[in-house]
Symmetry: C2
Subunit: 475 residues, 2 copies
C-alpha cells in the first residue's frame, strides 16, 4: 500500500508540475519550518552570543557536509539509529543526513589525522523523531558544538566545557538554570555493584535516562518488567539515582563501601572531584549538580556527561507558559575517533552541544510579549523625491551613497508620493530621508529629514555621506 | 545488481559498525568537502563582503529547510530535475533536497501570502551533477541569493540586481569581470522570427546556452542534427547570437526589420533600453554586455536574465591557472510564485544568485601564493605560568579574563613549560602572554609579555583587563 500511495503521490505531483495550477500542498516538511526576517534577527542574536563565547575560548571553526556516507554514521547512535534520514539510492554512494555534529567531527579528525584541535561548528542536524514544535523539538534543528580534542591532563578541558555552558546561559538571560553532571564510569560502576549483568548495562542505562520525564516507580517497573532486572538490583539502583549534590556527595560516595569496590566508579569519582575543584576555581559550582540519575542516550560517551536544563521561572510577562527542558548537553567521548582510524588510534575528546530551538522559542515569546520593535533591515536612509520625474536623480544619488558604503533604499516607483515614502520609513524604521527636488538640485544640496523628529536640514551634496554617517552612528 | 550491491554495502557497513575496527571508507561523499579552519576564515571574508552588500541594499534575511516536499520542486527545473537529490521513503512525506534557493523562496512567498519583500538567503543547495571540484563545481555548494518581489515600475529592481553583482565583484577584487545580459522575451522573439517552431523553443534555447563552452559550428550541428531544426533557421539564429554590445546594439535591433515584427522581442528590447539607461545612471555599463547568446538553463525565467563571468587575468602570482567561469547569475521570474498560489496570483520577482565556490577557490589560491599568515582564532592572551604547580592560579586568572570578555586560552597541562607556552603563541598568533608566578602573586601583579617584541611589563591585576584591551585594540 505504501508503495502504491507513493507512486500515486508522485504521479499527482508530476501532474501538478506540468499544469502548474494544480493544488500543491503549501507547507514545509513535517518537523521543519521557515525563519521569517523577524525570527532571523532573534536567531542571529542567539548565535552571536554563542559564537562570541566560543571565540572567547579560543576555538577555530570548521564545516562539514550536510550528509555523510551512510556507513560513517552506522553503529554510533545505538537505538537512535532508526531516526537517521537516509537519502534515496539514486546510484553511487549510500548517504545519510548527519544526526549530530559530533560523529562528522570525529570523522574529520581521523580523516585529516588531527590529534589536537579546539573547534566549534554551528549547523543543522536531522532526526526523524516525533516533532513537538511548540516545545522546540524539530526534525531539522541547529546544534552549536564546541569540542576539545587532544591528550591533556584530566578534567581541564571538561571543566572549560561546563564554564562555556555557564557563560552562554548566563549571557542569554534565560532565567535560572542547572547543569547536571555525571560520569559514564560512575554509572557503569554503579550498575556493576548493584548486580546488573554486563549485557544489560546499556538498556538499564537508557531506562535511567528517562528519570527526568518519568517517576522512579515507572522506571523501576520498566527495568524489572520489560528488561528483566531483578527487583533487588533495581532497588539498589534506586538508592543511588536519587542522589545529587556537590563535593560532599562525591566524598561520601568515595567512601561508599559498595561503590568503592568498583575500580571504574572510583576512577570516575576521583575525576569528578577534580572537576569540582576546577569548577570551584571558575566560581560556577552554584549552578552545577552532580546527579547520579543523569545518563544521556548516546552510545559514544566514555567519561564525564552533562546536561543543562532551564528551571521554571515565573511567567509574569509571557502569556503561554514555555515548556522548559534541556538546552545543552555533552560529555567525553574518547573512543569515537578511534572507530574511524584505520589503526584504531584514539583521540580523546570532550565537547558540548547547545540546542538553540528551545532558547529561540523563549526569546521569541519574550519579544512578542514585550513591545520591542525589531528592525529587520539596517537601512540608514531612504532616497526620496518630493516632485515627479526625479527617478533618474534618485538613482544617481543612491548610487553615490551605495558606493560610499551607506545603507540606502529607494522606492521602485517612477513617481512615488512623498507621503508614501515617509510612511515606508515609519514602517521599516529607516531613520533618515534624503530628499531631492528641483530647487535642491539647483542649489547643490539635499534635504535631509530626520524621521523621528521631522527636523529637516539642507546638506551640501558633498557633505551628505559624512552627515548620514554621523547621524546614524550607533550609540 | 545495483540492489544487490547496495544490500552488500549495507551489510558491510553494519559489520564495520558493530565491530568498530573494520575498514571504513574515510571520506566525505562525492562532490562534497569539509572546510578547515583556515578555509573557514576565507569563506567568512567572502560571506562578509556579500552580506554587507545585501544589507547595504536594504535586504531582510530569511531561512528555509534544507529539504522540501518533493512536489514543491517538481516541474520547476526542466531537464535539470534529474539532478535533484531525493530522500529515501522511510514513511511519511516524500522529500527532496533543495536544488536552489529560488523555488523555496517562491514557496515561502505563496505560503505566507507575501507580495512585497526584498530578502537575501545564504545557504547550501544540492545537485547530483558531475562534480569538477578543482573548477569549483560541487554537489553541495553555497548560493547567496538576493531577490526583490513585488509589483513595481519596470527595470528599477532589475537594475539594482546588476548593481549588486557589480559591487560584490568589485569589492572582492577578483580581477576583471563582465556581466552578460539578455531577456527571455528577446530570445523567444528571435526564435520566432528565425522560424523555430514554438515546440522547439526550449530545446533550441538550451543549445544556445552552450555557446559559452562550444563553438557556434558545434551548437549549429546540434540544432540541425539532433534537434531537427532547419539549417536556414539555424543560420538565422547564428546571425543574431554573435551580437553583443550596449545601447547602440539595442537601438539597432529595435530597428531590425525582422526582430521588430515580434511583439515579444520589441517589449524585451524596450525594457533592455530602459535597463541600460538606469545602469548608465549607476555608472556600471562599462562592465555590462547585452549578449544575444546568453540563454540560462532554468525554466522559470520570464524576462531579463544575466550572468557574471570572471575574465582571465594574468597569472603572475598564482602557480596553477585558475579556470575561470560564471560566478553569478539571475533574472526575472514573474510566474514562479503563481505556480504555488492556489488561485495562481502572480508575484513578480527578480533576483541574483552569487556562487561562492569559484570565488573561494581563487581567493584560497591567492592566500596560498601570498605569504599572508591567516589567524584562525582571535585569542588575545595566553594565561601562562613560569613555575610548576600554578594550574589553579592560571585557572583563576583565566576565569576572571573570560568573565570580563577577554579572549583567552590556557594550555591544558598541569605543569607546562614556559617555552611551550610561548611557542603556542607563536604558532597560533596570540599577541600577549599573561604570566603568573609566585612573586607576581605576592605582589598582586601579572607579568604581561608582548610576543612580537618580547617586551615584559608588570601590570597590577586590577588593571590587567584594561591593559589587554588597550594593547589588542584593532587598528
Amino acid at each position: 500500500i505504501a508503495k502504491e500511495v507513493a507512486k500515486l503521490l508522485e504521479m499527482k505531483a508530476q501532474l501538478g508540475g506540468d499544469e502548474g495550477k494544480h493544488k500543491f500542498v503549501l507547507k514545509t516538511p513535517k518537523g521543519t519550518r521557515d525563519y521569517s526576517p523577524k525570527q532571523m534577527v532573534i536567531r542571529e542574536r542567539v548565535f552571536n552570543a554563542i559564537i562570541t563565547c566560543f571565540r572567547r575560548h579560543g576555538a577555530e571553526v570548521i564545516d562539514t557536509p550536510v550528509f555523510e556516507l551512510k556507513e560513517t554514521l552506522t553503529g554510533k547512535y545505538g537505538e537512535d539509529s532508526k531516526l537517521i534520514y537516509d537519502l534515496k539510492d539514486q546510484g553511487g554512494e549510500l548517504l545519510s543526513l548527519r544526526y549530530d555534529l559530533t560523529v562528522p567531527f570525529a570523522r574529520y579528525l581521523a580523516m585529516n589525522k588531527i590529534t589536537n584541535i579546539k573547534r566549534y561548528h554551528i549547523a543543522k542536524v536531522y532526526r526523524r523523531d516525533n516533532p513537538a514544535m511548540t516545545r522546540g523539538r524539530y526534525r531539522e534543528f541547529y546544534q552549536c558544538d564546541f569540542d576539545i580534542a587532544g591528550q591533556f591532563d584530566p578534567m581541564i578541558p571538561d571543566a572549560e566545557c561546563l564554564k562555556i555552558v555557564h557563560e552562554i546561559l548566563s549571557d542569554l538571560q534565560l532565567g535560572d538554570f542547572l547543569i547536571k553532571v555525571n560520569d559514564r564510569r560512575i554509572l557503569d560502576g554503579m550498575f556493576a555493584v548493584c548486580g546488573v549483568p554486563d549485557s544489560k548495562f546499556r538498556t538499564i542505562c537508557s531506562s535511567v535516562d528517562k528519570l527526568d520525564k518519568m517517576p522512579w516507580e515507572e522506571v523501576r517497573s520498566e527495568m524489572v518488567g520489560e528488561k528483566g532486572l531483578s527487583p533487588d538490583a533495581a532497588d539498589r539502583i534506586g538508592e543511588y539515582v536519587r542522589l545529587h549534590g556537590g563535593l560532599d556527595l562525591i566524598e561520601r560516595l568515595l567512601q561508599d563501601p559498595k561503590l568503592s569496590q568498583s575500580k571504574l566508579a572510583k576512577e570516575g569519582l576521583g575525576d569528578m572531584k577534580l572537576l569540582f575543584e576546577y569548577l570551584t576555581l571558575f566560581g560556577i559550582t552554584g549552578k552545577i549538580s552532580f546527579d547520579l540519575s543523569l545518563a544521556r542516550g548516546l552510545d559514544y560517551y566514555t567519561g564525564v556527561i552533562f546536561e543543562a536544563v532551564l528551571l521554571q521561572q515565573e511567567n509574569d510577562h509571557v502569556q503561554e507558559p514555555v515548556s522548559i527542558g534541556s538546552v545543552a548537553g555533552g560529555g567525553r567521548y574518547d573512543g569515537l575517533v578511534g572507530m574511524f582510524d584505520p589503526k584504531g588510534r584514539k583521540v580523546p575528546c570532550v565537547g558540548v552541544s547547545i540546542g538553540i530551538e528551545r532558547i529561540f522559542s523563549i526569546l521569541e515569546q519574550r519579544v512578542e510579549a514585550s513591545e520591542e520593535k525589531i528592525r529587520t533591515t539596517e537601512t540608514q536612509v531612504l532616497v526620496a523625491s518630493a516632485q515627479k520625474k526625479l527617478l533618474e536623480e534618485r538613482l544617481k544619488l543612491i548610487s553615490e551613497l551605495w558606493d560610499a558604503g551607506i545603507k540606502a533604499e529607494v522606492l521602485y516607483k517612477k513617481n512615488p508620493k512623498l507621503l508614501n515614502q515617509l510612511q515606508y520609513c515609519e514602517d521599516t524604521g529607516i531613520p533618515l530621508v534624503a530628499i531631492v527636488g528641483e530647487q535642491e538640485l539647483k542649489d547643490g544640496v539635499v534635504k535631509l529629514r530626520v524621521v523621528a523628529t521631522r527636523e529637516e536640514v539642507n546638506v551640501r551634496r558633498e557633505n551628505l555621506v559624512a552627515e548620514i554617517r554621523m547621524r546614524t552612528r550607533w550609540p
